[in-house]
Amino acid sequence: MDTSTSTFSTYETAWCPGCGNFSILAGLKQALTELGLRPQDVLMVAGIGQAAKTPQYISANAFCGLHGRSLPPAAAAKIANEKLTVIIDTGDGDSYGEGGNHFIHNIRRNADITHFVHDNQIYGLTKGQASPTTAEGQVTPVQPEGNPETPFNPILTALAAGAGFVARTFSGNPGQLVRIMKAAIQYDGYALVDIFQPCVSFNKVNTFAWYKEHCYELEDDYDPTDFSAALSKAREFGDRIPTGILYNVPKVSFNRRHPVLKDGVPLVEKKLPDHLIEDLMNDFV
């Protein structure tokens, strides 16, 4: 697999040895290669954080923007040029904390973008504060008596907000990871993949072993088009945590329903009709 994914390779990373991000990066390269994409076809978008460095480590176009703000420019990029495959790789804090409002509303907007959340259940780059998905009671440098808050359930919230593709996987399950990544990228619309990612430096609770122990793959006969089933799977987050594609139904994407874009001609290629400005000026005379 090494040679085939090397199209997408760049230089060394700044992550800690043992970090789950490495497997996610490898999986991403493999998925893109297997999908037959070229670096120039792909736009990687991120916020700020450890996960958000991913676009720096893969050979593709890259928009490394602001903390919490990856989804709006990603959606806009797809609106501007739908020939690009737009992929967001960023963190749980970035996606669900600072970026929570964009999370909800870009699900509704449903541009054809793929959102890979490296969910290490912690703020990694800023050294270990509780993120929205940190377990209740977990001790951190700024939650010294334990994180008091109910963890955010991104799967359930995405379903509630109307996402058409919702999946969860684990960096330690490369087969499933790549499979889901490919399906998510191919989905026409907003696709969420929440990826458990051990942070060896700051999350001593949700370790590789912990995920390994708690995660299970959805049964073969699981029906990802059944919303009620998805809702109940989404609520399982205890001894056992389901991974796989929890929900997958077609939903008309932004570009396909937009009056100007639905003809499939990218916005960047469209031209202002001749004489339109003259006509518009006439309206005012």
Binding site: P72, L267, V268, P273
Partner: protein, 557 residues
């Protein structure tokens, strides 16, 4: 020049009456200028519009009234003292108004008799046309533009009925503005955006900036652009930046409170060198302030918004034509220098409608978006942030060639990779700074108006253009000359050639601003060292009038 005040509660339909009358006046050749004084509510309260018309270009309002068209008694109460000699009050006979100047007409009864109580406003239009000697031919065409087909006939009847009720009182001003357009400052700006090649507009509703989206959205389909209402202003700005990066010329618009939320994104546009135009249609602050009124108090804010240092351009639009041309220029300069450009407008200019000659599309032509691989030096590696002499680096678009385009909010090297190197940091800061130096060579000097042999120099910027222009003309008539003004459009970086030249000639420099702290005077002092001798400031949410400027100029400090 004549000046009419139309007053009533929100929701009483003053707007249509005024819009129809504006068109009729203009078609008969006169110039018009209309401003709104509206409360922040949908129904009730006291709102009014001022419609000024004449046979010379008008770019400001006044509160000296030829006539009051009153839908409520409160309107008369509040404004009767502003009537000039020979002025009139037009109102329905049902209103309890005791004023010898009142022309009371049973408009409501007549409208009901005609079959629709809502046409009483058009009866008033007919009356006013007669009073000012306008002809009724052509009026039907105007009505057809504003009124649904099924109601057209009855409105035409109403107009004629009103016309026949009174006798002419005033000379028709005449003029040759019949071929002009009537539009608002915001419409001029939106049209400029389309002419400037806009492909993507994103915004979150906020008065008084929503007018931009309200013009663009209904024309998006035919213009083949995307207009997107975002979930908040942060998203609106970030979408504009994302679209622009990808190659769709982009703009976002808001007012001060929304701009506050765009501040971080502004910096991203500067750091990542993604051309983006941010429109701030100012209203009185701080925070929610007076949402439907006017002020020029965001200047210092937008000039230094966002952490760190990066080049930017701030252009304050001054009048309707300026709004159009400067918007195209803003999009072009954003593109050329790969920087954020901030267009400052305000509620006054944004909502005021006026007669403007058709825009000349050859005057400013939109630049192409980004570079293409053909623009690169052959054989060279593509570097998004190549260090160049001008500071401008080749901007390719992602997905349009085999070259990858990397942008980053962290400090980055020429390739776009995150760096911690001190040397690279310095070279990129300097590179970005050089763009500002270059930009400074093509700034627009302010408009100079007034007499060449002046002793008193007024400084103004943005929408006070009209009031100051009128004030200087008045002063030069009344006070035997000696007055001039510099009216700035480009405010940051500050063009200084004319400023220094004229300032050295001035005995007194008077700063005129629509805010309470003389923000522009501060910029002038910081960058040119020139200190204004006096300031004329207004900050009650109502635009300053020429006569206020005149009286304050003349009243020695």
């Amino acid at each position: 020049m004549y000046n009419l005040l139309f007053g009533g509660a929100a929701g009483q339909g003053v707007e249509t009456t005024v819009a129809v009358l504006e068109q009729i006046i203009k078609r008969s050749g006169s110039s018009i200028f209309t401003v709104k004084d509206f409360m922040s509510r949908v129904r009730g309260g006291h709102n009014f519009s001022l419609l000024r018309f004449g046979n010379t270009p008008i770019r400001s309002h006044t509160d000296e009234l030829t006539g009051i068209i009153a839908l409520t008694e409160e309107t008369v109460e509040l404004h009767r003292d502003q009537l000039i000699d020979g002025g009139f009050i037009l109102c329905d006979s049902q209103l309890k108004i005791d004023d010898p100047r009142a022309i009371k007409i049973d408009m409501a009864v007549r409208a009901r008799r005609l079959g629709n109580p809502r046409v009483s406003g058009i009866i008033a239009v007919g009356i006013l046309m007669k009073l000012f000697g306008f002809e009724t031919n052509g009026a039907e065409e105007v009505l057809a533009k504003h009124i649904k087909k099924q109601y057209l006939n009855i409105n035409v009847q109403a107009l004629h009925e009103g016309f026949d009720l009174v006798e002419r009182r005033f000379d028709n001003p005449g003029g040759n503005f019949a071929q002009d357009m009537i539009l608002t400052g915001s419409q001029a700006m939106a049209l400029g955006a389309l002419a400037g090649g806009l492909k993507f507009y994103s915004a979150y509703p906020m008065s008084p900036s929503t007018a931009l989206m309200e013009y663009l959205a209904p024309h998006a389909h035919e213009a083949r652009i995307v207009v997107e209402q975002a979930e908040d202003e942060i998203a609106a700005a970030m979408m504009a930046v994302g679209a622009s990066y990808t190659g769709a010329r982009a703009m976002t618009g808001t007012s001060g409170g929304g701009f506050a939320l765009m501040v971080e994104t502004l910096g991203l546009s500067g750091m990542a060198e993604i051309p983006t135009v941010f429109v701030d249609v100012q209203r009185p602050g701080p925070v929610t302030g007076l949402p439907t009124r006017t002020e020029q108090s965001d200047l210092k804010f937008v000039v230094s918004a966002s952490q760190g240092e990066f080049p930017r351009l701030v252009i304050a639009v001054r009048h309707h034509a300026d709004a159009f041309y400067q918007t195209i220029r803003a999009l072009n300069l954003a593109e050329k220098y790969q920087i954020p450009v901030i267009l400052l407008s305000d509620q006054y200019l944004g909502d005021a409608s006026g007669t403007v000659p058709r825009f000349d599309l050859n005057k400013v032509r939109p630049l192409p978006v980004g570079n293409t691989p053909a623009d690169l030096e052959p054989g060279q590696e593509y570097l998004r942030y190549r260090v160049t002499e001008s500071g401008i680096s080749p901007r390719l678009l992602p997905g349009q060639s085999e070259h990858l385009v990397l942008i980053d909010s962290d400090e980055h090297d020429e390739k776009g990779w995150i760096t911690e190197s001190a040397e690279v940091r310095i070279s990129q800061v300097d590179k970005r700074a050089r763009k500002l130096k270059l930009l400074e060579t093509e700034l627009q000097e302010p408009d100079f108006i007034g007499t060449e042999d002046f002793h008193t120099l007024l400084l103004g910027w943005g929408s006070t253009y009209g009031p100051i222009e009128e004030a200087v003309a008045t002063l030069n008539q009344q006070d035997s000359g000696g007055y001039a003004a510099l009216l700035f459009g480009d405010v940051y970086p500050l063009p200084q050639r004319l400023l220094k030249e004229k300032a050295s000639q001035a005995k007194e420099i008077i700063d005129v601003e629509q805010n309470s702290t003389a923000q522009f005077a501060g910029l002038v002092r910081e960058y040119s060292g020139i200190k204004c001798d006096r300031e004329i400031l207004k900050y009650d949410g109502r635009q300053i009038m020429a006569k206020e400027i005149v009286s304050q100029v003349l009243q020695q400090a």
